[in-house]
Symmetry: C2
Subunit: 414 residues, 2 copies
């Protein structure tokens, strides 16, 4: 079966807001074997809404509509869906009573316009909304000569997700043929998308029954595998087999086989080894610390560190010998090494990390161009440093540098 | 006139990718007075594409299609648009010659399938692609009894933007009635969306000819004003008048009237006063430093600072008296003050900033719940500290805290 997702709301036709519900709905529909063939966004105008719902009924089996179920004049999804289906709306006195009760409990005044939330499409099953006022509706009907499913869901993402998960998915699973979908997410750092694809395309193209998607984002690659079979173990065996071969091919570029982030993996390794990490960041300006501390519980192995934007602070907080800066410049292998060693000692950490580079757009020279970054990692066994040239703008160079730094720590811990 | 934007590509019907071109196109179309009434996303299937283009021709004046112009079998936009318009495609020998020339210059082998990029819809004007291979097409035609404009644009955002800006907008401006649009963006920090709206709704609702949009994001509010008039000065006068009244009402919550970010404003004030800033961050873990250093040239007034996640580092790097931590706990007004004063002295900065709090989800207590944050700012005139309770998850609490910290520095500099 195929589906169309319709997002209702004029704000999603401005340059400032995007529909995001459809990503969640797509994931869940794919999970029960339904492909999404169209997505449509329409504003709060009855004529437009009737038009898009009617077109959707003409081209897909399942129509999922989000938004436009509230109490205001602009909330027209119920009316439009009824028009498109050629049936009537009926105001349900039980729902009106519930709306008044809900308002009374919360000491709200329930204004008359709220009653339109009790309008039910003929033949619809109501979907109670545990997290909001407007109930959803589920319509299982015949349109023309075909069976059609139509779902009316609230726009706020948390209300929509709860309703879809608890009420729509179970109903869909009953209707649709049983399928078992196994998925795996492999993640790799500091390898380019085309380099990775060149390595693994000859492998995954052999697995016609596994869908492989590669997503790339500045030094971070996700390989998503998905396989659908009538028997769960069979589907799992296929994705596991393919995942194993990809892991073998990409070797130590792979940092996660269950979808964790690189910062989670670094913290996990640190904790496993009872080690602590301190960082001294120049060009990344706190990004490595920020990424690590975004993980709850990171304080167990990340002690902190210094953002040493000025030369004075490189000396003052990370203990760099000022003569090194004079001799080699602040952006140099020697200063990166001194930052890693200095911050490790100063913070009493097992591992020290030092980063210095030119994020641009200004500050580059022929000898040290924008994008040049040195990263050093230091522990009881010694210090190693890498020199890199990262592409893109300031944001991209800084992210690449933070990714390289975290990856260097990960490799040291492996 | 109204428009529909159609994004073509099966990858945008997965849970992982979104169409973003439509935000840019919407902004530009709005700028010449065209409203976007529908957005549609369809995959790389000819039947589906013909269907969506045909529906679009039936409901809007302008159809903008992006993607599906490349050389592969999956690139079907040309064929589908021709089918929907009921006209033919003709392979243009001049374009074929150009394609071969382009390939030769780059020492590529031009395979046969590339020739389909030379297929031109009958009656179309070609739009040369300065940044890629596939040319776009501009169709100005009569469909049924109505004039319709159809644009075929490449999918890659940089190619699409250049082509739209340089070739489509000038053509549109010639066709559409002259209008002048003036805009202003006011930004405010640390005021809630509903609090702000309660203050300013009585004002902006008086300006029926100015479109006012409020966007809110964790302690940051954007008020966007837009006015369209036949005379440029008139439009500008209206948005400026309304902007002035809103600024008066929101007073010192407003930090920018030209759309700058809060970190840009803080750096601008620092530089104006010849001041420098150093930060000592606990719960924000480097986020304040990262936000400041994301701005190019920040090194002129931001010296750096310390991420003092552990108590040891609060003492070691920010010079906090360990007895203060023992007595009041690491999350306390006294420690925030000591962090601000200590880091200011240690870094030799004009202003010191200290942040400590509980970002959660773990680590809260009845006395000091998750979301409790202390921020202190210190300069030659003394130190002030604020206590806040921020809502939401770890990400939200950390962002709110960083926003509060930057805003406190801004107010100190005002």
């Amino acid at each position: 079966m195929n589906a169309e997702i319709i997002a209702v709301g004029s704000e999603m036709l401005t340059p400032y807001r995007q529909d995001t519900n459809s990503l969640y709905i797509t994931e869940k529909l794919n999970g029960v074997g339904v492909s999404v063939d169209f997505k449509t966004i329409a504003g709060d105008r009855r004529k437009h809404l009737v038009n898009v719902v009617r077109h959707a009924l003409g081209r897909v089996d399942i129509v999922v509509i989000s938004g436009g179920l509230g109490p205001t004049e602009d909330d027209l999804t119920r009316e439009a869906a009824a028009d498109a289906l050629g049936v009537r709306l009926k105001r349900d006195p039980d729902i009106i009573a519930q709306l008044y009760k809900r308002a009374a409990v919360r000491r709200w005044t329930m204004t008359r316009n709220n009653e339109k939330q009790a309008d039910v499409i003929t033949g619809a099953t109501l979907l109670p909304n545990a997290l909001g006022t407007a109930p959803g509706q589920w319509i299982d009907t015949v349109f023309g000569t075909h069976r059609k499913l139509v779902m009316l869901l609230p726009g706020p993402p948390h209300e929509l997700k709860a309703m879809f998960e608890e009420q729509c998915l179970p109903r869909l699973s009953e209707i649709l043929p049983k399928r078992h979908i196994a998925t795996r997410v492999l993640k790799a750092a500091m390898i380019g998308e085309s380099a990775a694809d060149t390595k693994i395309a000859p492998i995954y193209t052999q697995y016609k029954d596994v869908e492989t998607t590669i997503l790339a984002h500045m030094g971070d690659i996700e390989v998503r595998l998905s396989c659908s079979k009538p028997i769960a173990d069979l589907a799992q065996a296929r994705v596991d087999e393919l995942a194993g071969k990809i892991e073998e091919e990409l070797e130590d570029f792979i940092y996660s086989s269950q979808g964790e982030t690189l910062e989670q993996i670094v913290l996990y390794y640190l904790e496993m080894r009872g080690a602590t990490l301190a960082v001294a960041e120049s060009c990344t300006g706190g990004m490595v610390a920020e990424r690590l501390t975004s993980v709850s519980g990171s304080s167990r192995s990340f002690t902190g560190g210094a953002v040493v934007y000025s030369n004075r602070l490189k000396v003052e907080l990370a203990g760099v010998d000022p003569r090194l800066i004079e001799q080699h410049g602040a952006v140099s292998r020697d200063v990166a090494v001194a930052l890693a060693e200095g911050i490790r000692e100063r913070c009493g950490a097992t591992i020290g990390l030092g980063i210095t580079g030119i994020a641009g757009p200004a500050g580059g020279s022929e000898e040290k161009p924008v994008g040049m970054v040195y990263v050093a990692v230091s522990d009881a066994d010694g210090t190693e440093a890498v020199e890199k040239r990262f592409p893109g703008d300031r944001r991209s160079i800084r992210f690449f540098a933070s990714q390289q730094a975290l990856d260097l720590v990960r490799r040291r811990l492996m």
